[in-house]
Each structure stands twice: as structure tokens, then as C-alpha cells.
């Protein structure tokens, strides 16, 4: 009898422990002691009906993973940034130019990431950071396009994002962006695959909860590209989308597809107001 009472008390304590851990960590992120990062806001943008507050995925990771982001020397994603910085100065292609020939230092890109994806009047289409990079390579450098998930591409998006760290995400949702945003929103609430799960099922209705061992975040993309400890490399936004759709037992979409470009516009807008945080660290 006594033993049973004790055992059930233990069970209650253990359960309470789980519940406490389920909340987003109450913590603040300052990178290198000098770049404060807005990882939480009390209000989502008015056009995002499903969220009353915003959290970066950083809040849902364990303390040691969170700590790795506080100092660039501990952040393995910075190796990709350094590789891209070297690439930045390297001449490639028939025009005999490097990124640096037109753009000077990478710091000249500060603020660029906050507006991505951004509609290109010249091209008449919605363009992601990857697409702007390839436009420079093919049209101005006479170099070959990089693949969406090539290491060189992911590293370059990490470099360009890193010089915007601390600046608020601010993608346009109106004007020419509107139809892309609508398409992305529609996708966000579509229950794909044999498991019939939408992005919103996991990242809007259940952030903070656990799905098996995974602590669900809001699925924000302000930290992308992210360095995933599991893969020991940087991973693109579309690569993450691909994995999440696949996990619903669905036929997924391809990185760079019109569908994922539209979804990126919408998901980026859910994070408008959070700081650019890339390269961030995730499991």
C-alpha cells in the first residue's frame, strides 16, 4: 500500500517534469555578446490569424544546443559561412568576375535576407535568395548555376543571411507577392499524405508539444539555413519543407518548385518581426 502510494507520487512528479519541459525555453539569445536576437514576440503580424505570439525554433531546443548559437566559435554553421566568404572573392565563369567584383564586402548584403523571398520586377516572378544568387552567377558572371542544395549554394545563403543577423524579417505579403502568399497559405493548411497532416497541425496547433521525441516548434524559417547536428551540415529551407511533407506519408515537392517558393513566402511572413538568426543550430 505504502509502496503503491509512493510509486504513484513518483509518476506524478515524472509527468510534471515532462510538462514543464514542454514549454518553449524561457531564455534570451545574444550572439557574440553583441548581436541581440529577437527570438520571441508577444504579437504575430495581423495577417497571421493562427498565431498570438512568435517563437524562433531556438526556444525549443535543449540548453546545450541553444548555447552553441551564442558564440560564432562554437557554431559549426560558421564553417559554411567561412567557406562562402572565400568563394565570395573567387573569380568564376566567363566574365572573369567574383561576387566581390560587383558587391564589395559580404557586409554590403546586410538587410537582403530580411526581404526574401522578394518579387523581381525585372523577371516578373517571385525570387528566393537562391534564385538571386544564381541570377548573378549565370547572367553576370557567366558561371554555372548552383543546385538548390549544393553545399556552395547553402553556404552562400548562410553567408548572406549571417550579415543580417539581428535585423527583423520583413517580407512583403501584398502587391505582386499577394498571389504567392495566398497559395502558400492554402498549402500551410492542407492536410497532405496518408497521415493527413498539415503544417498547421504540427506547428500552429501543437508547438510546445512533443511528437514522440521531437519538441515541436512553430516551424519558423528566420534561422535558415540551419546547421542540423543530425546531418552535420547546413540545410536549406526547401530541404526542411521536403522532409516535413515526406513525413506525412505524402508525395513531397521538389526544392525550388513553384509550390515551395509560394510556401516559403507565406512561412517567412509568419516570422516577420523575428530576427534573422542564421546560421542557427538545430537537432
Amino acid at each position: 500500500m505504502k509502496f503503491r502510494a509512493l510509486a504513484s507520487t513518483c509518476a506524478i512528479v515524472a509527468f510534471a517534469g515532462v510538462a514543464a519541459n514542454a514549454d518553449p525555453a524561457d531564455d534570451t539569445l545574444v550572439i557574440n555578446g553583441e548581436i541581440p536576437i529577437v527570438t520571441h514576440t508577444d504579437a504575430a503580424p495581423p495577417y497571421i490569424e493562427g498565431l498570438t505570439e512568435q517563437y524562433s525554433g531556438w526556444h525549443f531546443r535543449e540548453a546545450d544546443t541553444r548555447a552553441m548559437e551564442q558564440d560564432d566559435f562554437d557554431n559549426p554553421g560558421m564553417l559554411g559561412v567561412e567557406a562562402a566568404a572565400a568563394n565570395w572573392n573567387e573569380v568564376d565563369g566567363t566574365a572573369g568576375k567574383a561576387c566581390a567584383s560587383c558587391h564589395e564586402a559580404p557586409e554590403s548584403m546586410a538587410g537582403v535576407r530580411t526581404q526574401m523571398p522578394k518579387y523581381s520586377e525585372a523577371k516578373g516572378t517571385m525570387m528566393t535568395l537562391e534564385m538571386y544568387i544564381n541570377e548573378c552567377r549565370t547572367e553576370r558572371m557567366g558561371a554555372e548555376a548552383w543546385g538548390w542544395d549544393d553545399a556552395a549554394m547553402v553556404n552562400m545563403t548562410a553567408l548572406i543571411s549571417s550579415v543580417s543577423r539581428g535585423l527583423p524579417m520583413n517580407v512583403a505579403v501584398d502587391g505582386p507577392a499577394a498571389p504567392y502568399w495566398e497559395q502558400g497559405k492554402e498549402m500551410y493548411y492542407t492536410r497532405y499524405g496518408q497521415l493527413e497532416l498539415s503544417c498547421a497541425n504540427c506547428h500552429e496547433d501543437n508547438y510546445g508539444n512533443y511528437i514522440r521525441a521531437d519538441h515541436l516548434s512553430q516551424g519558423q524559417i528566420n534561422g535558415f539555413p540551419v546547421y542540423r547536428l543530425k546531418d552535420a551540415k547546413l540545410s536549406s529551407i526547401h530541404n526542411r519543407f521536403k522532409g516535413c511533407v515526406r513525413d506525412t506519408r505524402a508525395e513531397t515537392f521538389k526544392p525550388g518548385s513553384p509550390e515551395f517558393i509560394a510556401l516559403e513566402v507565406y512561412v517567412a511572413s509568419r516570422g516577420n518581426g523575428l530576427s534573422v538568426e542564421s546560421p542557427s543550430i538545430r537537432n
Partner: protein, 157 residues
């Protein structure tokens, strides 16, 4: 040629008869979400059910539900309610209905439909990310549903 075709038809009919004790996913009769009859025509085995519930490639119910009586299943999720004492809240028919197609009991629920064959939006070939070829079998077989229900019936407070 013609004879072969006829033979084919007879074989198909025979297969239909052999499986007739089993209710096909499209033929399950839901009454307020509940299903009275065993889907396989046989009783469930609670030990097999426990395996289905805890195995990632099968039901993986513990991805979303905690079950105190199953401590060996690590990292139980908390998306759905704890299943402790669930047999006190639902009778067998109610549980069979929830496990077969929870959307018949809980409108719009996130819980997947385990005994259904569609229609789905962009159905995939398991977790490969590729398109499914042809109609998908239900996530769990009729007997696996019965096994799971038999296990859930053991979860009394």
C-alpha cells in the same frame, strides 16, 4: 485467351469469398463514430496490439499519446490525451471506431485514420517522399486494429 480471362474472374471471386469475414475499409459501418463488429471477424490479441502501438513503423500511437503501462516505449508524445484508463471512458465499439477512423468521432481531429484507403491529397509511398503507386492499403490491417483495441481494453483505471 478467353478461358484464361474467365479463370481470372473465378479466382478473384474466390479470393473475395475467402476474405469475407473481414470488413473492407470502405464497408465499415460507423454509428456515432463507433463500430460494433470485429473488423477481422476474429478476437484481438492484446500483446500484438501493444507491439503495434509502440512500433514506429506500425501504429506509433505513442508518438502522440502517453501510456503509463508501457514504460518500455521511450519518448511518448503529448499531442493527444493520455490513454491511461481509456477503457473506462469508451466501450469496445467506441475504441474500434476511434482507432479505425478517429475523424468519425472527433471532427477534424489530427489523429490519422488507420483503417481507411483514401481519398488522400498527394498520397506517398510510405516515407519515401515518392508518389504512391495505386491505391494504398490502410495504415493498419483489420486484425491489427482488433489487436490494438484488445490492448486498449486492458487500460482500466
Amino acid at each position: 485467351m478467353k478461358r484464361q480471362l474467365l479463370l481470372g474472374l473465378i479466382l478473384t471471386a474466390a479470393a473475395g469469398v475467402a476474405a469475407s469475414a473481414e470488413t473492407a475499409p470502405a464497408d465499415v459501418a460507423y454509428e456515432d463514430g463507433a463500430v460494433a463488429q470485429s473488423l477481422s471477424g476474429a478476437a484481438g490479441n492484446p500483446e500484438e496490439g501493444a507491439k503495434v502501438i509502440s512500433t514506429r513503423s506500425l501504429g506509433n500511437c505513442v508518438a502522440c499519446h502517453a501510456i503509463t503501462a508501457m514504460p518500455s516505449a521511450a519518448f511518448q508524445g503529448n499531442i493527444g490525451p493520455s490513454l491511461d484508463g481509456v477503457a473506462g471512458r469508451w466501450d469496445e465499439a467506441g475504441l474500434r471506431g476511434i482507432v479505425s477512423d478517429a475523424k468519425m468521432t472527433f471532427d477534424g481531429t489530427m489523429m490519422p485514420s488507420f483503417y481507411k484507403t483514401g481519398p488522400y491529397i498527394r498520397p506517398g509511398d510510405a516515407f519515401t517522399g515518392k508518389a504512391a503507386e495505386g491505391e494504398l492499403p490502410p495504415l493498419l490491417s483489420a486484425q491489427q486494429i482488433e489487436d490494438v483495441v484488445a490492448y486498449l481494453m486492458t487500460l482500466k483505471e
